[in-house]
Symmetry: C2
Subunit: 270 residues, 2 copies
């Protein structure tokens, strides 16, 4: 469920509704980074109803890696609250299908997989706070270097719930030491999309041995005078869900997010 920043030289689609329609009609299969600027993009996790309560409790207990933006009732395909008129089965650029915890395919829609006992979870994505970071003049090295953000498994346990558990996965962004406080302040305003960092500085303290070898995404350069800063990452719930080996789990493909009609600032506090 990681958000992946990818170079996007195509035109910028300004409207979430238009972007979703393009997905639905097969005219958009690319990553969504930079599209519909100012609107909340979300990770998608769809699970059978018998796992939904446990997964919802897992998210409630772990709000930093698993910030809930919307949960749909069993069988419902329209995220009415955040994206009226959308259809979660067709409006994501690319989907992944997991069977018994194993990735079994990547598809352009999930109409053929849909069942009335499926529950859709939309989870906040760091694109929202990255927009705020850029606005505050903070560097985003993975964007500058046109790479995916670096992500690492940590020794920070999540709080288990029912069948779900596992380590927290974090994303890392190098920040000049005189801007670290600002980075904390800016991202603290967005608790609904991972919020404040979970760690600043020495990676070994949270069980990361080598920043040059991320567990997910790409390594980025860290310059003299920069501090690695770590945020809870949306890969966490996906990793926890896969580990529980659900008979069926449907997700977006990394970087190919569901774009809502919610404005980034709507998720900000104070």
């Amino acid at each position: 469920m990681a958000c992946v920043n990818t170079d996007n030289t195509a035109n910028i689609i300004g409207s979430p509704r238009e972007l979703r329609l393009m997905c639905r009609e097969g005219r958009w299969r690319a990553p969504t980074a930079g599209q519909a600027p100012g609107y909340v993009q979300t990770n998608v996790a769809i699970l059978p109803r018998d796992l939904a309560f446990d997964f919802l409790v897992f998210c409630q207990r772990n709000p930093k890696p698993c910030p809930l933006v919307e949960v749909l009732e069993s069988g419902v395909t329209e995220p009415k609250l955040t994206s009226p008129g959308a259809d979660i089965r067709t409006d994501v650029p690319l989907y992944r299908i997991y069977r018994n915890g194993v990735l079994s395919g990547e598809v352009e829609d999930i109409l053929g997989e849909w069942r009335d006992d499926l529950v859709t979870f939309l989870l906040g994505c760091s694109f929202t706070f990255e927009t705020a970071m850029m606005a505050a003049g903070l560097p985003l090295r993975h964007v500058e270097q046109n790479r995916n953000v670096s992500m690492y498994r940590t020794n920070i346990p999540t709080v288990p719930a029912g069948v779900f558990s596992g380590p927290m996965v974090v994303s890392m962004r190098p920040i000049p030491h005189n801007q670290v406080v600002r980075a904390v302040q800016v991202t603290s305003r967005f608790p609904g999309v991972h919020g404040a960092p979970v760690h600043i500085g020495d990676p070994e303290v949270i069980g990361i041995r080598d920043l040059a070898h991320p567990d997910y995404g790409d390594a980025v350069d860290i310059y003299e005078g920069e501090v690695p800063v770590f945020w809870a990452c949306g890969v966490t719930p996906q990793a926890a869900a896969v580990q529980s080996k659900p008979s069926l789990m449907l997700t977006h493909s990394p970087g190919h997010m569901f774009v809502t009609d919610v404005r980034d600032e709507h998720l900000a506090v104070l």
Copy 2:
């Protein structure tokens, strides 16, 4: 699920653990207002597992009236995350039992009612932000007048989820006009316990006809130069739950809250 402030001339019990033990041993059956100062007190709602997912989604969709502090897995009686060692069946001063949506009794423990399919929800309570308001020098008229806070049904709909729906219930506190902004600021820091007001001023705008006749609690005096300020209230989820006529619902008795080990400041943002 309203928090009720009641005069309490007994000694102040400082420790949540001690207060819970006194409940368990039958030595405390009084309201908890003012007890264990600085610790989060919670509304308690216990529902059968078949309603728990819908209720959890209802809370997720209506975070202002239904701020989740902890959700326990089905059958679990110890709120391990917020109150290790506690037992939700014995550690509340007084409970209410609802059968098919009708209040059927008030009891000192729920050991005899417990079933393995029951799911416990702990929801934040305005006591937390009232402590912060007092610290900021804001008046709390219902405390000054030794009454229960005034609560009203509004025309603000909650966002329905599954079988749960109903109007938002609000509590009202009169605030001098030159302190209204401060009241917004202070309570905004506590989104986990109802947070910022939902309305300031004219009660008719939110469907309240007569402030002198609250739907729950007591009327309080409003002085010249004061503005009625309205906050989402924990009666909302209880009213919504009762309306769905669950076969069994167990709650605390108004004002007789479950006291956690979580410090008020732990729920504050920024």
